[in-house]
Amino acid sequence: MDLDDDTSVLSTLKSFNSFISLPEHPQRPSDHSATGSGILHNQYKRSMELLEAAEKVQSKNRYLQLDQEKKRMEMSHKRARFELERAVSDNARDLEHEVDRNQDLVGRIKKLEGRETDAAKNLCEQVEASRALRKNLDGLNKKIDERDSRLNTANQTISSMKDEIRELKQQMQNKDSTISAQTLENQELQEQLDLQRRKYQEVSQLCQSLQAAESSCSEHVIKIKELERRLAFQEEDIAIVKTVKLEVARLPDLEKELKRLRDDNAFLRESRENCSLLKEEVEGLRRKLERMEKTKEELVNMELEKERLAEKLKAWENLGQSTGLNIRSESSHTFHLLISCHSVSVRSVERSQAELRAELSQQRSRTMEEQKKREAQDALVRRLQKRILLLTKERDGMRAILESYDSELAPTEYSPQLSKRLREAEDILQKTQNHNAEMEVRVHTYTNSKPQANACARTFFSSSRQKIEDLEAERQRLEEQNNILEMRLERHNLQGDYDPVKTRVLHLKMNPTSVAKQQRQQEVDALREEVTHLRELVRSLQDGGALVHSQDESNLRKQMESSELRNQRLKEVFQRKIQEFRTVCYVLTGYQIDITTENQYRLASVYAEHMDDSLLFKKGSSGSMQLMETEFSKTLGEMVALHLHHQKSIPAFLSAVTLDLFSRQTTL
């Protein structure tokens, strides 16, 4: 670059020089003619211009140089900067490294310090531990010394024990021999046991066979009982069959009787009808009888008249006799004629009478009918009158309504409709009235058409009434039954009954009751198993204990015997002591005290005059002693009164009694 600059500088110098030289030549000739001042001025100008150009060139050069230098400097700057920056970065890196290292070191220092402290602590602890260990060591040393001493003693004991062991071994050997002998015995016993077991098994088999036989026996017995029952049933059946046969034998007779009874029934029914007919005949005959009696009376009257007429005839005959005989014959003839005529007339009269009577009866019946009809008619009339009254009232009311309507309403639209309605209502009314009248007429004709059958109708009515009453009673009974059944049904429904045809009861298979029952059953089973297990254990213990702990048992037995002996001895001792005490009491107090029953004490004095003289004391519930009445106590009434009632002291009383008896004895 410098070389280029140099070359450029040189080139520029060269050019400048050339430029300077050139203008001088052309200038000189051109400006030679000009004034010299002007030429100088121009030369000066040119030189100045050249100088300026040279300066410019120089400055340019310098500028270029400076530029170059600047660039160089800049380059060097940049290089320096780069290097510096590199150095800086290197330094920074180094710094960072150093810082990290520093931190590491610091951390290490801290850790080391911590370790130091820990180590110090450990040291202290170790020191303490070592002290403690030393103490332990000392203790242990002491113990070791003790143990050494003990060991020595133990060694001595060991030696002694070894001697004992030798002795025991000898004993063991002796015992071994005995054991072998016993094992031989044991084997023999076991063989016997086996034999016994076999026997036991046989016996058990026999037992089982026995039991099977017994069960079969019981089954046979049951079968026998069943067969006997069946026999009994069969015998009963046979008896029943016999009775049934007898009854069946009676059947044809019964059938005959039935037929006879049916015939009798039919006959009786016919006879009943006949009876009714006969009754009617009887009535008719009664009426006839009445009529006949009346005719009889009339006959009697007629006979009386006949007698009168006969008397008259006789009178007439007498007259005839008195007057002449002719007349008699004629008159007798005429009289006979007359009589015949009379008789004829009498007969005709009788016939007419009978006819009249018949007519009378008919008329009477007709009058009855007519009366009935009249009564019916009267009843009808009354009813019709009542109805008429009601209808007239209705009519008046309707008319009033109509009039009111007519008065209220002026237009003629309503009235024709109302009048139409009125007419319709009246027509309906009339129709109903006619219908009612017809019905009543029918009823009356029905009732009147059978005057002769009134009795039958009455009987029919009475029988129908009875039927009605029976049916009513049955209905009431059935209603009561129905109510009772309904109540029962309701009750059953409340209780939860159901009709299996229409209803089904369902529940879940896994329901709480079944679950609870299962649990309960499981508990029970578990408990039972436990119980059986425990029982087996107990049995095994008992059986096992008997063999293994025979020694303990013998010990226990010995203990028991010893304790029993002790008890016996204690009893004897107590007995003796009690006896002693009682004798001493007897001797010192003078009374023998016996306990007769619970809370009753019998005192017998040593100076008693008789063997039976004794005082009876009873211990009350409060603990106080009371004297009971005895024969002896009755003789001591004064002393009882003085000592017991007055002084209230039993010892005083007893001592008084003793003194009294003693005095009596000594005097005696």
């Binding site: 429904n493 409340l494 209780q495 939860g496 159901y498 089904r504 009861v505 298979k509 896994m510 709480p512």
Partner: protein, 202 residues
Amino acid sequence: MTSTLKGITLKGSAELVAEFFSFGINSILYQRGIYPPETFTRITHYDMSLQLTTDPKLKNYLTNVVSQLKEWLFECTVQKLVLVITCLETSEVLERWQFDIECDKSAKESSAPREKSIKTIQDEIRSVIRQITATITFLPLLETPCAFDLLVYTDKDLLVPDKWEESGPNIINQSEEVRLRSFTTSIHKVNSMVAYKRTDSV
């Protein structure tokens, strides 16, 4: 469900009745002490406080039964629901709570809802449950440990579902019966009654 609608449909009625049974059975179990009272929790329903069990096995059992019962109520094939209380030691029935169900079968054909307000039905149910609680005063004490079972009386020709089996009616020997209140949803009518074993000392 039906509380937003105006009337009662067959499905809604079946749900109401099944819900009543669920709460009723729970309160009977609590009142009679079949399960310990600490296994029950208090909840509010029908505007009153009721006890509901928290025992998971019992809950499971009750949901099984009540869901099956809902189906049967919808089909109108159930006639009675009976809660039977049995003594565990002697296996005899001590108490029987019986609920007769009368179903209006015409509701099956027509699907039009019936006019009856939910509030009146709930009032009726509330009075029934209150009465059940009040009956405890005259029922004899259950001194022995007891278990309960739910029986359902259905039509004979019904198909028996899985896990269900036929059982006896478990009628009490020598019983006293008391009829309690009833309620109706206008499709289902439920009559309640209780039968208990007569105690000789009374």
